[in-house]
Subunit: 210 residues, 3 copies
């Protein structure tokens, strides 16, 4: 399987898993089947759509490429018809979600660099690609976005984005760079889930995990 | 009256009615007059603005065309000064709202097609044009968007959008296509209000209306 | 110091102070340090980013210009590490915030005019530049945006924007126009804080402050 096909496959898996997370959230809030579809689509594509709007790549791929429409629909149907299966696969969903984050951050960072953004902006947009879907998903059901207060998530994405930017800067081969970025992002995310790592919070009862 | 004038008139009525719904929501949440104006403007134009951003039509018509600014201001003033009238006209507002949805979906689908989007994306953007204003309106006052969990609304829009896309595909005359799409969308919406049709929801107490 | 340097300095002060307001809101809601950074960045730049998307100026300055990224990071760190200092400086923050509003409205209105928008749209976009960051900040932490229901805020911005548009229309010297607009906007905002001026609200217990 050539690298490009592999990347596309990963991208669609990422889309599918993020869509699952959106649909599951919708079921949790007892939305109807249309609400399930909207949250499925929003969670899977909002990050990429925001990135594409900000770099001026319109219409965004998530709208002009049919696969990004059909995959969330399928994910929405799966969750709507088989909510218990998704429940039982909760840990598997976490793993796929980490994979989706990893891939979206890496592809988002590369895309921003290819549109001529500076390295810092490219990192920001890479992270936005990875977390944007979750933020819109949570906002639509009136939750404070998970990524703003739970575990290591965006920071894992940021680590991956920085690797991509540095690799590009030093002209390293993209396949190696992407592999290292992916390992770092995915690894950080999985370890933080296992060990319940959290970022410190500020305020009156300031407590940093030991 | 030529067709074009008729469409523009319908579009402005749609804008006015959606603006009424935004202003009424603002009054319900006890916002000040500026908040009333913002929700009036957001409900009336957010759908079209999102569509225009996504297809790259900037600045959006809702900003460059003065009518889309003045109509929401008038609607906001009406609701602010005469909240009881709006209350008494609640059913009339539902009818106008269905008309607004119908028209926004049809014009949004046509605009997306004319910007070269594929048929599925054009349907999505048509529906987004029709429901986007309500989603932003509800999010600003911390409500879960009505369209995600109440009655047949977006599905009526989708039916209209599909008719438009098929009509275009088969080269049918636009006036006939628009009329059929409008009848279908408006009719579905009105019947679902009359009979309290709801889409099924998923989850532990999965109940589909008989 | 030439006028241009002065304006850039003011713009960065505005960015810094809006970022402080975002970070303080994040601490109040017990978000982690990443959440603090996101709200800091969102409050400081969302208004300008929305304006730039709407006029088609992509990528937005807030993303392509590194200063708009570093200033919110510094503000976020300050609030995260020294939350009590910010607490003690609450009134100073209100003053800086009024200055930030003033500057963002004026620069936003000028930018919209320079992209060829009509005067009414330029006023809207100027006000959006000034208030957009606060709206996104509040929405992310599930608050109804402050600007929709508290004191004179957007109206002060609107007054400044109108002065800019009229000044441009009458070909008055920009420095004079900007100075008058700034005095009016900043003055209105400060007086309304001092005297607890509020806009009237509608509804059953309609009460306008005496």
């Amino acid at each position: 399987m050539p690298l490009n096909t592999f990347l596309v496959a990963l991208d669609l898996i990422g889309t599918f898993v993020f869509a699952l997370s959106g649909a599951a959230e919708a079921v949790k809030h007892r939305l109807d089947i249309f609400g399930v579809m909207v949250l499925s689509f929003a969670a899977a594509t909002a990050g990429g759509i925001l990135r594409d709007l900000l770099i001026g790549s319109v219409p965004p791929a998530a709208i002009s490429d049919l696969r990004y429409i059909f995959v969330p629909v399928v994910a929405g149907l799966v969750v709507f018809l088989l909510p218990r299966v998704v429940d039982r696969l909760r840990f598997a969903v976490l793993i796929f979600d980490a994979a989706g984050l990893t891939l979206f951050v890496i592809s988002g960072t590369y895309k921003a660099l290819s549109f001529g953004l500076n390295p810092v902006a490219a990192c920001l947009l890479g992270v936005l690609t990875g977390i944007g879907g979750g933020v819109v998903r949570d906002t639509l059901v009136r939750e404070i976005p998970t990524v703003l207060h739970r575990e290591i998530y965006a920071v894992a994405g940021l680590a991956g984005a920085v690797v991509v930017v540095l690799g590009q800067h030093w002209n390293l081969p993209p396949t190696v760079v992407a592999a290292v970025a992916a390992l770092l992002c995915f690894g950080l995310r999985m370890i933080s889930i296992r060990r319940h790592w959290q970022l410190p919070t500020a305020g009156p009862n300031n407590q940093t995990p030991a």
